[in-house]
C-alpha cells in the first residue's frame, strides 16, 4: 500500500561545525537569508575561510508561501526554495552558528570582533552584515502580551488557525492585502485597518480584496489598543479624522505595517539612513573599511529575494577583493 503526501525533512540532521572563536576568519557572514547564503556560496568558491552566524536559515523566504519571480521557476514553493538554498550552503564545509543573536560588533585594527548573546566573540578580517529585517510592531497596549495569543505577524504561518474567525489586519500595503487574501481562503471575517489615508498596496491587490465583497475596509484609522487577557478578544480603532473610537470584536490580529532593519549591532559603527538601513555603495561597501552589507538590511531598493541573493554574491566578491588588496588572504 502506498502512503499519500508523505515527506521527511532531514535538513536539521546535517549539523555543520560551529565557528571557532580562536580563529580569525577571512569573512564572517551575519544572517541566514538569501543574501547571506548566496555570499557564503561565493566565499566558499573563492576558498575564503568563512563562517556564518544566524538565528536560522531562510530568513523571510520562509514566511511566504510561493515565489513567482525566482528566475527559472514560474512558481516555486518558498520552503522548497529556502531548503535548496540551505542545502547548497551546506554542501560546502562552512561552520555555522545557529540560533544566536548578535549583541555587539567592533573593529580593532584590521580585525572585526562579533560577540553573540551567549558571550562568545568571533573574529574576522572582513565582515558581511546580511541580517535582514524584522516585523515592525504597532507599539500599542496589549501587543507584547498577546503575541502568539491571537496576535501574529506571519499569515503564511498562522492564517489557518483563524478559519471562520474574526480577524483584524493592520496595514494598507501589499503585505496587509496579501494577508487578507490568505485569511479569506480560510473563510475568516476580515477587517482591514489602515493608519494612513489611502491604500498603499498595488491596485490589483486592492481590487481583489474589494471584489471579494466581504472585507470591512477602515482607511485612515489607527489601532490604539489590543484587548484580551490570555487571548485576543478585540481591537480598539480610532478614526483619525473624527477622533471617534470604535471597539471591534476579534479573535485575532495580523500586524502587517512594514519591516525594520536588523542593524542595531552596527548602529554605532556604520552610517545608517533615516530608516536605520545600512548605507552601502555599488560594491556593497559600508562606511567602515572591510565591513560589507547586503540584502534587506541595506539601503539597496526593492527588497526581493533575487536582489538580495545578487547583492550577497557581490558583497562576498568585494570582500575578497578587499582582502587581496590588503594582503589579508
Amino acid at each position: 500500500m502506498g502512503f499519500p503526501n508523505f515527506t521527511l525533512d532531514t535538513s536539521m540532521l546535517e549539523e555543520a561545525p560551529e565557528p571557532d572563536p580562536e580563529f580569525t576568519y577571512d569573512l564572517l557572514i551575519l544572517g541566514g537569508g538569501p543574501a547571506a547564503m548566496s555570499a557564503a556560496v561565493y566565499a566558499a568558491r573563492k576558498m575564503m575561510t568563512c563562517a556564518m552566524i544566524t538565528k536560522d536559515f531562510g530568513g523571510q523566504v520562509r514566511e511566504t508561501s510561493e515565489v513567482e519571480n525566482w528566475l527559472g521557476f514560474q512558481n516555486i514553493n518558498a520552503k522548497d526554495l529556502a531548503d535548496s538554498f540551505e542545502e547548497h550552503v551546506k554542501s560546502f564545509d562552512i561552520p555555522v552558528k545557529l540560533g544566536t543573536a548578535i549583541t555587539t560588533i567592533t573593529k580593532e585594527k584590521d580585525t572585526f570582533l562579533v560577540t553573540t548573546d551567549d558571550a562568545v566573540t568571533y573574529h574576522s578580517h572582513a565582515l558581511l552584515l546580511s541580517t535582514g529585517k524584522r516585523h515592525r510592531p504597532l507599539n500599542v497596549p496589549g501587543e507584547k502580551e498577546l503575541v502568539g495569543r491571537g496576535l501574529a505577524y506571519c499569515a503564511t504561518c498562522d492564517a489557518p488557525f483563524f478559519k471562520k474567525k474574526k480577524v483584524v489586519v493592520a496595514g494598507g500595503g501589499n503585505s496587509a492585502f496579501t494577508t487578507t487574501l490568505d485569511l479569506l481562503k480560510v473563510e475568516a471575517e476580515v477587517t482591514l485597518v489602515n493608519a494612513i489615508k489611502g491604500w498603499q498596496a498595488d491596485a490589483s491587490l486592492v481590487e481583489r480584496v474589494k471584489r471579494a465583497g466581504t472585507v470591512k475596509l477602515l482607511d485612515n484609522h489607527e489601532i490604539v489598543k489590543i484587548e484580551g487577557a490570555d487571548q485576543v478578544t478585540g481591537v480598539v480603532v480610532k478614526d483619525r479624522q473624527s477622533g471617534t473610537e470604535e471597539h471591534l470584536a476579534a479573535n485575532g490580529i495580523f500586524v502587517e505595517i512594514g519591516l525594520l532593519p536588523n542593524s542595531d549591532p552596527v548602529k554605532e559603527l556604520v552610517e545608517l539612513n533615516e530608516h536605520g538601513e545600512v548605507v552601502v555603495d555599488c560594491s556593497s561597501r559600508t562606511s567602515v573599511e572591510g565591513l560589507y552589507a547586503a540584502g534587506d538590511v541595506t539601503t539597496v531598493p526593492h527588497k526581493q529575494i533575487v536582489i538580495a541573493a545578487g547583492e550577497g554574491a557581490k558583497a562576498a566578491l568585494s570582500a575578497y577583493d578587499y582582502l587581496m588588496r590588503k594582503s589579508l588572504l
Binding site: F3, L8, D9, M12, L13
Partner: protein
C-alpha cells in the same frame, strides 16, 4: 513500500552513529492499523534498522491496554523514546515532515544520554519546582 530514500537513510545513519547507549522505541498501534499507524510503524522499523543500539517494541493499543495506560498513552499512533529511563518523550501521529528531524535528533540525544542543552537552560529548568503544563501549537508551515 520503503519510506526512507537512500540519501535520507545515509543522513539518519550518520546522525545515529553518535549513539553510545541503548535506545528503546516503544510504539503503540493496533491489530487493524489505520493508515497513519502503518506509516509510523514502517518508518520506525526503517529508522531502528539503521543502528544496532536501537530496539523497536511494537504494542497493540487495545490488547496491551494496561501497558498503554502505564505509559500514559491515550491515542495512537504513539511513539515513546526510552533510554535508561522513560524521559517522557512522546510523539503522537506520524513523526513526518519537519518532525522527522526532531524524532532522529531525540533518538540521538536519548542514545547519548545528553539533552544537548546549554548549562544555563539546564539550570533554569532545574529551578522549576512545580508542575508546568506546556501546550505547543504547531504551525502547518
Amino acid at each position: 513500500m520503503a519510506l526512507l530514500k537512500d540519501k535520507d537513510k545515509k543522513k539518519v545513519a550518520t546522525a545515529l552513529k553518535e549513539i553510545t547507549d541503548d535506545v528503546t522505541i516503544v510504539m503503540f498501534t493496533q491489530e487493524t492499523e489505520c493508515q497513519h499507524c502503518e506509516m509510523t510503524r514502517t518508518l520506525l522499523e526503517e529508522v531502528s534498522s539503521l543502528s544496532d543500539r536501537i530496539t523497536l517494541e511494537v504494542h497493540d493499543f487495545v490488547a496491551d491496554k494496561e501497558l498503554a495506560t502505564q505509559h500514559g498513552v491515550d491515542k495512537i499512533p504513539a511513539t515513546i523514546l526510552v533510554g535508561e529511563k522513560d524521559y517522557g518523550i512522546r510523539f503522537y501521529g506520524v513523526p513526518a515532515g519537519y518532525e522527522f528531524n526532531v524524532l532522529v535528533q531525540d533518538i540521538r540525544d536519548v542514545g547519548k544520554r545528553d539533552p544537548n542543552l546549554p548549562d544555563t537552560v539546564r539550570s533554569e529548568l532545574a529551578a522549576i519546582d512545580q508542575p508546568v503544563h506546556l501546550q505547543t501549537i504547531i504551525s502547518p508551515t
